[in-house]
Structures are given as C-alpha cells and as structure tokens.
C-alpha cells in the first residue's frame, strides 16, 4: 500500500465534511453532538495509535495533551467577541493549531526524558505527567481552576471535526506507509535490532510522541468548543484509559480498527442511554421497563469491555494478524 492517491482522498474527505457541515442545521442537535464526540475520539485514538500501536511506546498521558490543546484554544477564542463566520473560522483554526502546537511542545518536553523508559515504566511515568498537567490547570486561576472554564463560542462544527479527523488519519497512515515510517514499527518489534540497522530509535519515538500529542491537542480544542465547558476533571487518567482502550480494542497498529473502536465505544454509552430512555427522571425511570439500565449503564459498558477483551485480545477488528500467526 503506497497510497498513490492519498492527497486526493484527503481533499475529497475535506470537501465531504464541508458539504455535510452546510446541511448540519437539519440534523438533530443531540445527534450532532454525539457525532462531534465520535470525531474527537477518532482523532484521539488514531493519534495515540501512532504512539502505542505502531511505535509500541505505552503512553497513558493522552488526556494531558488533550487538556493543553483544549485550554489553549479556549483561552484564545474567549478573547474575542462575536465575529462574522469567516473571521471566526480563521480564529478557530488558529486557536486549534495553537493548541495542537503547544501540546506538541509539551509532548516533546515530556517525551525526551521519559522515552528512554520501556513498557510498564513508561506507562507509569506518562500517567504521572498527564496528572501533573491536569493539576496545573486545576490550580491555574486564569482558566478558572477547579471551577472550570466556560468556553463562549461553540465553534466546533462538522467541517472542523471531520476535517481534522481526515487530516489525522492522513498524517498517521502516510507516515507509517513509507520507507521512513516502517521505522516506527521496527522500533516496536525490536528496539535493539532497529538501532543496529541504523534507526535513530530515540528520534522515532519522540517524533511519534510529538505528532500524537499535536493531534490530541487539536482534539482538545474541538472538545472545548463542542461542550463549551472545561473542567480539569474531564482530563483525568480515566480519560486517557478510555482512549487506550479504543486503541487496544481496535487492534494495536490497525488504524481502521481503531477508528471503528472509537465509534463503537463512543456510541455504546450513548446507545445504553437511549435504551434507558429516561435516566434523568428517577420517578419515571422506576416505571419504565428498562429504566434500571440508566443506573447500571457504566457497569454494562465495563462488562462489555471485559467480554470483548477476553474474546478478542488481538483487537476487535484485527483479522489479518490472526492469519499471519496461524501460518507455520
């Protein structure tokens, strides 16, 4: 696969998201909100897949980079009042980019000292860094501290969300599907051999980390302008774990699988909410035949995860690898 027409596909995807975006006022706002969430989680999962899946560096700090991007973009757009659509588009794009770049810088600062660690040790250290970032925001009065930060403008729309999804997928896939990019997988498969074959393993690991952090920052900016309210608690390590679960469930280093997993795991809690129907009205919930699901929604979600992991440890959407292993 050399993706000869990669750029055309990217342009088509951007055009398509623009078209859908123009018709977005016909879509139910709740559905639209869920669609944004799906897009945001696809960006998060696909970018984390570059670090955890392709390069094999188990990072648990993705929510931290998301927070950096989210707060940065929100602070920037909050400086401006209502603007005309074009100006607000430019502003939002700039804010997203700034959030991504700052997240990438933080990723570089975190990555340089930590990426000499391996496996569990790296996981623990990145978890620690993610928490440090969250605690910094919690104690920063400029962004409301623990009270949270209101984001004045709901700039996130279908075009920005899925345009960024397209860009993320494009970057990760074109990067990995090149002679240069095979180095990421070589580092994952055998770091010592990779180094002996002339691969600057540190540079590859840091590159994966920085690119991954950049897109996590972009996702954070989209999230901020979709929910329009940020709290540091929203970026705790449970959030990081949710993204890691998507990568593992989709299959490490399997981008289409990870996209499907992100869709599925974002829809699942929403779908259960749908079944429960009336979870926010306790009196009615008791009368509703499926009302009990409302309270146990997250338990069902967790149980499903356990079942999925037990039955398909190689990833829900990984078929090819299984065949490869079956060969003599």
């Amino acid at each position: 696969m050399r993706f000869r027409h990669a750029k055309l596909v990217l342009l088509a995807a951007l055009g398509l998201s623009l078209l859908v975006s123009l018709a977005a006022d016909r879509i139910d706002p709740y559905v639209l909100f869920v669609l944004y969430n799906i897009g945001i989680y696809i960006i998060l999962a696909v970018s984390l897949n570059l670090i955890n899946g392709y390069t094999g560096q188990f990072s648990l700090g993705h929510a931290g980079f998301m927070a950096v991007g989210g707060y940065t973009a929100a602070v920037i757009t909050n400086q401006f009042g209502a603007l005309n659509p074009f100006a607000s588009g430019v502003l939002f794009f700039g804010a997203l980019l700034a959030g991504g770049l700052l997240a990438a810088v933080v990723g570089l600062l975190v990555g340089l000292p930590t990426l000499r660690l391996k496996g569990d040790y790296l996981a623990i250290v990145t978890l620690g860094f993610g928490e440090i970032i969250r605690v910094i925001f919690q104690n920063m009065d400029l962004v409301g501290g623990a009270r949270g930060l209101s984001v004045m403008h709901g700039y996130t729309n279908f075009f920005w969300t899925y345009g960024m999804v397209a860009v993320t997928v494009y970057v990760v896939l074109t990067l990995v599907h090149s002679t240069y990019g095979r180095g990421f997988i070589a580092v994952r498969d055998d770091e010592i051999a990779a180094e002996a074959m002339g691969i600057n393993t540190t540079k590859y690991k840091v590159t994966a980390f920085v690119v991954g952090a950049f897109f996590a920052g972009i996702a954070g900016g989209l999230y901020a302008h979709s929910t329009q309210f940020l709290t540091p608690g929203g970026f705790n390590f449970m959030q990081s774990i949710a993204i890691v679960v998507m990568v593992i469930l989709g299959g490490m280093g399997n981008t289409p699988g990870v996209i499907l997993a992100a869709i599925l795991l974002t829809l699942l809690p929403e779908g259960l909410r749908w079944v429960a129907g009336v979870e926010h009205l306790p009196g009615i919930a008791k009368m509703h035949p499926l009302g009990w699901i409302g309270d146990t929604r997250m338990i069902i979600y967790s149980l499903l995860l356990i079942v999925l992991m037990l039955t398909r440890p190689q990833g829900l959407f990984t078929w090819r690898r299984k065949i490869a292993e079956a060969a003599p």
Binding site: R182, D189, A196, M197, A324, A327
Partner: protein, 260 residues
C-alpha cells in the same frame, strides 16, 4: 604474529581494547585488525568474550580503555545507529528480525539509511517520494532474489523457517550496504547440511559484495572451512592468531578447547 603485519589496507583496527563488567574483565587488551574484503573468524570457548567484542565494535558497549578505528576514524562514543550508517552492519546470535513486518519490509526499513527524502516527503507524497519508493522496492527485490527469498516477500518474518530467518537477517544487514559485516554465531542451531550451505553463503557474500566479514563462531568446523585468518579468544584474552592450519595446531588453542 606475522599474520598481523600482513593485513592489507586496514578497514577495522581494534587497539588495546579493554572492558570490565564490575570486577570481571570481559575483554582485555585486545588487538584486532581486519583488512578490506577479508574474512576473519573470531573463535573461543563459551564466555570467551566474542559477542562482547561485537558489542564494542557496534557501539552497544563502550571500551574502558583502548581505541577502535573504522576507515581511519574512531567509533568509540558513537551511537550504534551512526556506526551502522558508517558501514558496519551485524546480525544477532539470537535472531532479531522485525517479526510483525513482512520479509520485504524487513529489508526495506533499512533503506531509510539511503533515503534522500525525509518525513516531509512521506507526508507530501509527491513525485519525488513515489520515485524513490519505487527505486527502493526494486533494490529490495534485487537483494531478495539474490538470496532466493523473493517468493516469501509478503510473509511476516516470524512465519519463516529458522534457516530462512537466519538468511533474512543477513540480507537485512546487507541492505545497509556495509563495508564490514559482523555475523554473530550464524551456524547456531544448524545441522551439518545447513552449516555447509551457510559456509557457501558467507563465501558468496564476501565475493559478490566485496566486503569484509568478521565471523564469530562457536563451531570450529565452519570457521576453519572458510576463514582466511582466525583470532582465538579465551577469557577475554587473545591467545592465538593466524591461518586456520596454524591455529589448529596451536597448543594453547587445543588446551583452551579441550582443557588440560
């Protein structure tokens, strides 16, 4: 030590190299030279320090004392990947392929050393990128064909047989276009027939690619069969050096291998 003086156009020069691990001196005051297009064997009983010498040359370990010159410049203090880029490639005693990558990709990955484009080319996917990828694919297939691995090009490396994996590891090292190839016990785990094939293969590589080979081997039969010069290590000290026949008769070597 007449053999040492005979080395022509020295490619690798190890001078008085010593390395210690805690109280143990793994390699002591070692001198070793390899000439251009020369096949040198490094032998010795278990634990003699053969693999340690490899790790010193390739930059995995740093010598406590001494100097290692490759092509006239020191490699001491260089990172392993830089030493590979300068022209020393190796294989491993326990095979270390990129197991989930295909045979083709295992070799292709190494070609990034010769890439003109970088990460931006991969992202932009312009004509330059596609042209370069195509030429790399051609060169990879050429190498695979030489070693009769072309039919396995799309098989994951881990699915190959033991012998094919060994061969692929050598092909992968050759993709780095080295001037010096280090083979770490390539005959380990092979039967007599496979060993004969391997000897032929090593000889072929030396002649076809015009490179120098340093062969670490436990197996006397393989080393005696193909090496032009042999260096014998015991407890980290060089105890003999010379042509296979000279080394074979050396009482110190016999004693090291057979005991008192």
């Amino acid at each position: 030590m007449t053999a040492v003086e005979q080395v022509q156009n020295v490619l690798l020069k190890v001078e008085k190299v010593t390395i210690r691990f805690g109280g143990l001196t793994a390699v002591s005051n070692l001198d070793l030279q390899i000439g251009g297009n020369e096949l040198v064997g490094l032998i010795g009983p278990n634990g003699a320090g053969k693999t340690t010498v490899f790790n010193l040359i390739t930059g995995v370990y740093q010598p406590a004392e001494g100097e290692i010159l490759f092509d006239g410049r020191s490699v001491v203090g260089s990172k392993p990947y830089r030493i590979t880029a300068r022209g020393i490639a190796r294989t491993f005693q326990n095979i270390r392929l990129f197991s989930s990558l295909t045979v083709f990709d295992n070799v292709r990955t190494v070609f990034h050393l010769h890439l003109r484009g970088d990460i931006r080319h991969a992202l932009w996917r312009g004509r330059a990128f596609h042209d370069e990828e195509e030429s790399i694919a051609g060169r990879v297939m050429e190498l695979l064909e030489i070693f009769h691995l072309e039919k396995l090009r799309d098989a994951p490396a881990k699915s190959l047989s033991y012998g094919d994996q060994r061969r692929l590891e050598i092909v992968r090292a050759l993709a780095a276009q080295p001037k010096l190839l280090l083979l770490d016990e390539p005959a380990a785990g092979m039967n007599a027939n496979e060993k004969t094939d391997l000897m032929r293969l090593i000889q072929f590589i030396k002649d076809r690619f015009k490179i120098s080979v340093l062969l670490v081997e436990h197996d006397m039969q393989v080393v005696m069969g193909i090496c032009e010069r042999i260096v014998v290590l015991d407890y980290g000290v060089k105890i003999a050096e010379g042509k296979p026949d000279e080394v074979r008769r050396d009482p110190k070597v016999i004693q090291a291998y057979l005991g008192d």
